[in-house]
Subunit: 285 residues, 2 copies
């Protein structure tokens, strides 16, 4: 692991790191904020999974999480959203060398691809759930028995599906404007078909609503959704999550924020609420 | 004035606007955050002047000012740092079509240039002190009797010199890592010679330390400076401001922040302190 940069902020350190990933077979970049803490202590970890087109940098620069992580004593980890490399764009979208914003580079959808050519590098599920946690545990003052996970849009999809399929591992899960039913919306249908193939039965393990229908559970779930989000009705469809949670008895807090859009202006506004919600579940005296 | 974008944030609205500037003879872009407020009320205004290479966007995305402006009821205005246009880069730096980071585009130094070819468009002093305030007064719920001004690096230079030369206009002035004596440091010598000519006597009206030596005063002044700022000893030299303020009897609060650099990680950490400092002086019951 190599440190790309480190900047003091809010009494802690905002770092950016890169490493050769075994999961993706590429170099991967991620960011970690370590809040001020007593030497020798280990701190709970919040994972933040980003949305389409993003790298670690979007939330790192615009998420406004450091003040509250410093106050609450939370490590904040932001991975990239796909493998990257000079060949990967063309591989992902052969007919479009510039790449599509919703597939391929920046759009890994937190799955392990099974379809060529993506099955070679697009292993974001294994990267986020296995490889990167080991790296974090080995290199930061992280208490890996206390983890929570959150995300935005495609990253909300990642956070909820990862929490649903790893019961007991995360103390809490939350999302901003998540894709909750990729099997039923255009972004998800394109990505899951491309990475997992046409057999829709294989998609259900990467679809929060389908996972809940199939019996997966979390204790509770916090979602904030902008009412002026241009992707609300076609891609995000929080009503599908609401219905699935109601049927399953999952305690969903769904906050519809009138006038807010899909941007980091929305996310940063409610970031503190989400981090406090995680801290309540991570830090028990 | 045309609205480029508006995003709800922290209960208020973050807007970006552009207009044809009479001062610069170019189109100019700026951002304004209007906090939540009762319709019909007018709010105090904080001006934020950015540093070298920046546009309005840097602080708008990374400054973390909205939460505290919403809490305190402050309008936050962020102008650009120079005129921009397809011809202006070549005009500014004839031998370097790509432009220099510290002169020309993104480096207006908040002066009205007197030297050709810059005297045609580089009129950032008039733009920030005359034209833009009129536009703000006409288009936003701004109480122009209650203004404060702050800035970063080159923008700290701008904020302090503007406050010193407009006594009574700003309730308060503060800066992050300001250039305090451009006449004595490489960045400033290059810019002031380029925009104002070789007669150093003309530079003193755009040099905070020289202005104080020549009798200009503010009631008090807040400066935060990172101790790990790579520009500290050669370009910023806060000790020169400290000495001038001491001699002049200006109440300078100079906070040296060990380990902090010149970036928005530093600025965002101390933004709330600065806005509270301004609010104390702007909002008197």
């Amino acid at each position: 692991m190599e440190q790309v940069s480190t900047n003091n902020a809010f009494g802690g350190a905002q770092g950016v790191y890169k490493h050769a990933s075994a999961a993706t077979g590429t170099e991967m970049t991620f960011s970690v904020f370590v809040p001020p803490h007593q030497p020798g202590t280990k701190l709970p970890v919040v994972w933040y999974l980003s949305g389409l087109t993003c790298t670690h940098a979007n939330v790192t620069e615009k998420g406004e999480f450091r003040r509250i992580c410093a106050e609450l004593g939370l490590i904040f980890v932001a991975p990239d959203t796909s493998p990257r490399g000079p060949d990967l764009n063309g591989n992902a979208v052969p007919d479009d060398p510039a790449g599509a914003y919703d597939f391929g580079l920046g759009a890994g959808f937190y799955v392990d691809a099974t379809q060529a050519p993506f099955d070679r590098h697009y292993k974001m599920w294994s990267y986020v759930t296995e490889e990167l946690p080991t790296l974090i545990a080995d290199n930061f003052p992280a208490d890996m028995t206390r983890q929570s996970i959150m995300g935005h849009s495609m990253g909300g999809h990642g956070a909820i599906t990862i929490a649903l399929r790893n019961p007991g591992r995360y103390a809490s899960v939350s999302a901003f404007a998540p894709i909750v039913a990729p099997g039923q919306v255009p972004w998800g249908e394109k990505a899951l078909a491309g990475y997992l193939g046409e057999d829709r039965a294989t998609w259900r393990r990467h679809d929060a609503v389908a996972l809940i229908e199939d019996g997966a559970r979390v204790a509770d779930l916090l979602v904030d959704q902008g009412g002026a989000d241009s992707f609300l009705t076609q891609e995000l469809r929080p009503e599908l999550l609401e219905s699935a949670c109601k049927t399953a008895g999952i305690d969903l807090t769904l906050n519809l924020r009138e006038g807010y859009d899909h941007s980091y202006y929305f996310i940063s506004t409610f970031m503190a609420d989400h981090l406090r919600w995680h801290a309540t579940r991570l830090i028990k005296d």
